[in-house]
């Protein structure tokens, strides 16, 4: 029920808006729900709004359970 994409904040603007970049596409979104976001950070965009700031220290590619599974397989 919630399509959301990560977008990089490029510029904060007046009226709670920010310009963001989604793989080269630029669009303006509303940042009222994430007012503390700064340019350079990534946000989750849904229906034209930033919903959350994405924590980049936990990237999608982190293979969190690899060790646990490898141990178990042995």
């Amino acid at each position: 029920m919630c399509l959301g994409v990560p977008a990089k904040v490029v510029e904060k603007r007046a009226n709670d808006t920010a310009r963001v970049d989604v793989n080269g596409n630029r669009t303006e979104i509303n940042i009222r729900l994430t007012p503390e976001v700064e340019p350079g950070q990534y946000v989750l965009v849904h229906a034209g709004f930033a919903m959350e700031i994405i924590d980049e220290s936990i990237a999608l590619e982190t293979m969190r359970y690899l060790e646990e599974m490898l141990q178990y397989e042995q």
Partner: protein, 336 residues
């Protein structure tokens, strides 16, 4: 012409119609076949089978990144003829123009058509113009009908496709659909994506070189790649299996589609071809395609199976298979 906008009088067949044709169309499209301005074009046709194709273009906006309705009207019909394996030769064109359209725009469209026709090597030989009242069409509707000659021994059609044949797409999919979507009102995002609108006349070389190793070709316009694969699977009575990871999609197109909840595989392309090729020739054909700029990102995306007939399956990144269906209804932005 003193007016700067199209009036109903421009369509009434009288002096103003004459002027419109002379000053806009003839100016742009001068050639010896059109010159006599007869009711029809007299053509000297080489012997052999003819291919004929017609298409109407109703796109808005009329001008978009990568092209305009004029360029599109030439490329669309030329590509359909090329898909038949034909060498495109002549095009007719009919305009239905909305009262109030700026004549400067019409001129640009006519010039764009002339330029594209020259590049491709086709001649615009006969045409028609009508004017309709304001509100009866979107600026201008264009129909083009084209004829071409099919070389001896070439017979591109779905029943020739066999299990084991490879499926090639000649480049990135979804570009045109996204470029148009971005231009339309209601969406305020700017994208580096530009329409791929192009006439793939270089494919004539491939036809000459590979002949009947190519079984069938089709351009994935409305409904996108997925729709064309489904149509052909049904017409040929075969199954098709493609790999998601192999289908070329530009990152910007994927990003925009993810944001809007749309799927690049269902978005229109205006400068791409889907080709079904005998397995033995596929690698070489791919190499040759890579040397041409409009097909530099061509890829083998899958292959043909004996069945189930009419079914297109796609292998996901996990290695599972799921159905890649035909487009149903309108493809609109979603939140879910």
């Amino acid at each position: 012409m003193t007016q700067d906008r199209i009036l109903m009088a421009h369509g009434s067949g009288g002096l103003m119609s004459q002027r419109l044709i002379d000053e806009v169309f003839k100016q742009a499209w001068q050639n010896e076949i059109m010159e006599p301005m007869l009711d029809g074009a007299i053509l000297q046709m080489p012997a052999g089978r003819l291919a004929m194709s017609t298409d109407s273009f109703v796109i808005t906006p009329l001008f978009f990144p990568g092209g305009d309705i004029g360029k599109l009207s030439i490329c669309g019909t030329v590509n359909d003829l090329l898909a038949c394996g034909a060498t495109p030769l002549y095009l007719s064109t009919a305009f239905i123009i909305e009262e109030g359209l700026p004549i400067a725009e019409l001129r640009l469209i006519a010039e764009s058509m002339a330029k594209t026709a020259r590049e491709v090597g086709v001649k615009l030989v006969t045409g028609d113009t009508k004017v309709v009242e304001k509100g009866s069409c979107d600026g201008v509707f264009i129909n083009t009908t084209g004829i071409g000659i099919i070389p001896e021994g070439i017979d591109y059609q779905p029943p020739r496709i066999q299990p084991g044949d490879k499926v090639i797409v000649t480049g990135y999919v979804g570009d045109h659909g996204l470029a148009i979507l971005a231009q339309r009102e209601g969406l305020t995002f700017s994208t580096p994506v530009v329409s791929d609108c192009a006439a793939l006349y270089q494919l004539e070389e491939m036809v000459a070189k590979y002949g009947d190793a190519i079984k069938c070709m089709r351009d994935p316009t409305r409904g996108g790649l997925a729709t064309v694969l489904n149509e052909i699977a049904v017409q040929a009575g075969i199954g098709i299996r493609v790999k998601e990871a192999a289908i070329p999609v530009a990152p910007a197109v994927k990003g925009a589609c993810d944001m809007l909840g749309m799927d690049p595989l269902y978005m229109a392309n205006e400068g791409k071809m889907v080709m079904f090729v005998a397995a033995a020739a596929a690698r070489d054909l791919l190499f040759d395609l890579h040397q041409l700029s409009p097909t530099a990102n061509a890829a083998i995306i899958g292959q043909v199976d004996a069945g189930p007939s009419g079914l297109v399956l796609i292998e996901t990144e996990l290695g599972a298979e799921r159905i890649l269906g035909i487009l149903e209804g309108e493809h609109v932005p979603r939140i879910c």
